[in-house]
């Protein structure tokens, strides 16, 4: 069963249709790149799929829960990370992990165990008591990603996770994404870096509230007779 199923999902704001009858499935363990120009409706679609915004019409289930009736269950069962919303700058690394563990309702013992495992995996044990603001951006983003997975969700939403980081860190971040997907976690990711679109199993491109293209990068390049995903994107978004 797909972990995300959306059928004719629509959201209007007054007379404006931000998301216009989008229909798609995401399979378990898949890396889905969710692309679109600014204002194409990506953020509105993500807010509906994460239980933050009620759709105007259409249907969708996320991790088996209905977006209308069970938005709270959706929030409990997904991970979410964005560049804007991630860690508390004035709290230490360990305090952030404990805080989010608490939010997700994990027992204290589990939080302590996960903290050790996570710091070990990210090679951050030495920074355990450092405040987030003292950490380089690349570490912060890797840590934010791991914190979003603290409660072992089957699906994680990453909203422009690599914005502004250096090219090596950006690639290390994708190593983490691959490892996570290999463990069976579904990754739903947005990006403005077109090379990253190539790293996804499938890519969806939104234009004016609709999904204008959806498929593996190789198939999309073939469909649009383009040499790169950048070309595919520009052709679609420029209309």
């Amino acid at each position: 069963m797909p972990i995300i199923e959306a059928h004719d999902l629509t959201r209007k704001f007054g007379a404006f249709t931000a998301v216009d009858h989008i229909t798609f499935d995401v399979a378990e363990g898949e890396i889905l790149g969710f692309l679109g120009a600014n204002g194409a409706g990506k953020t509105t679609a993500i807010r509906m799929l994460t239980g933050l915004l009620e759709p105007t019409s259409g249907a969708a289930t996320v991790a088996g829960f209905d977006v209308y009736r069970q938005p709270e269950r959706i929030k409990q069962n997904i991970g979410y990370m964005s560049q804007k919303f991630s860690l508390y700058e004035d709290l230490s690394v360990a305090e952030n992990i404990r805080f989010y563990g608490g939010i997700y309702g994990l027992p204290g013992r589990a939080i302590r165990r996960k903290t050790d495992a996570l710091l070990d995996k990210l090679d951050l044990a030495h920074a355990r008591d450092q405040r987030i603001q003292a950490l380089p951006l690349g570490w912060r983003q890797k840590l934010a990603f791991s914190v979003a997975l603290l409660h072992d969700p089957r699906l994680v939403f990453l909203d422009e996770p690599t914005g502004g980081v250096d090219p090596i860190t950006r690639r290390q971040f994708w190593d983490l994404i691959y490892e996570t997907a290999a463990e069976g976690v579904t990754v739903f990711v947005t990006t403005h870096y077109m090379d990253e679109a190539e790293y996804c199993d499938r890519v969806s491109i939104m234009v004016d509230g609709r999904i204008a293209a959806l498929g593996p990068p190789a198939a999309l390049k073939q469909q649009f007779a383009a040499a790169s995903m950048d070309e595919v994107f520009v052709r679609l978004a420029r209309g």
Partner: protein, 336 residues
Amino acid sequence: MVEKGARPDHFPITIFQLPITGSPITAKEVSTHAVTVTDLSKRYGAVTALGGVSFAVEEGELFGFIGPDGAGKTTLFRILVTLLLPDAGEAFVDGLHVVDDFKALRRRLGYMPGRFSLYQDLSVEENLRFFASVFGTTVEANYDLIKDIYQQIEPFRKRRAGALSGGMKQKLALSCALIHRPRVLFLDEPTTGVDAVSRKEFWEMLRRLKTGGLTIVVSTPYMDEARLCDRVALIQDGRLLEIATPAQIEARYDRPLLAVKADRRHDLIRALRAYPHARSVYAFGEYLHYTDRRPAADPAALHAYLEQQGFVGVEVRPIEAGIEDAFMALMRGHET
């Protein structure tokens, strides 16, 4: 114009500060530097934001600072546009000292900060008129300069700036930064968080402005934008790793580079990293870029190794380095 403070004698003087004499002197003969920076540094407590930076930007140049968040780009820009005092070092923009001559300099530079900083509650038109009036000029007097850009948002001139889309806000901010006809324009990460299409359009606008003779200093975390600059400085941890043309930076990359492709990308990355001669393996769009520890790589042997590991559709071919390869090599060299 009253100049305060002593200038170092290497400081270039631009033409319009010179008395007109019988023998015509062209600006080029006197100096072509729009920005001169020497040993500039800035600390915030224990953090060194800029650790002694020196460079010069020529007049009419499109000069890019390429580097990740936290590299020091914004600190540098804020010093150059007179909003922040340096701890040490000297900086001149269009012949004026960024500290001693800050008032005069503010009339000559345009600045578009990374964060949208126009008045959200004023309309498009009101914002533009406000910025023109602050500089003692009018929209009409300088309309030719912004026409290309402003026309794209003119249909929305009565709309509140806060209600504009990201791309339109960016165009309004650029119009406001240009309305007093600056000699040097500073753009701090104008394309961060902007989609690939809008980014392309923005760079097309910059190229057109440059044709008019404007000096443009721009920063970006996007490596692909480096190629659109005349020269770039690669910045990391408050230091400049390199200043050169994009072509020079790529040409200085001295390692053989292989592009590798096969099925099962994640497994391929791991297999390549496990290859005994591997030095670096990085994803690059649909290919992986591989460098070897040895002075010369062996594409045929690598190809055979991957097929032996069970990969299908293996492709291995030598390629020229791009700016992003070069930047990563410099970053690694800097760390070790």
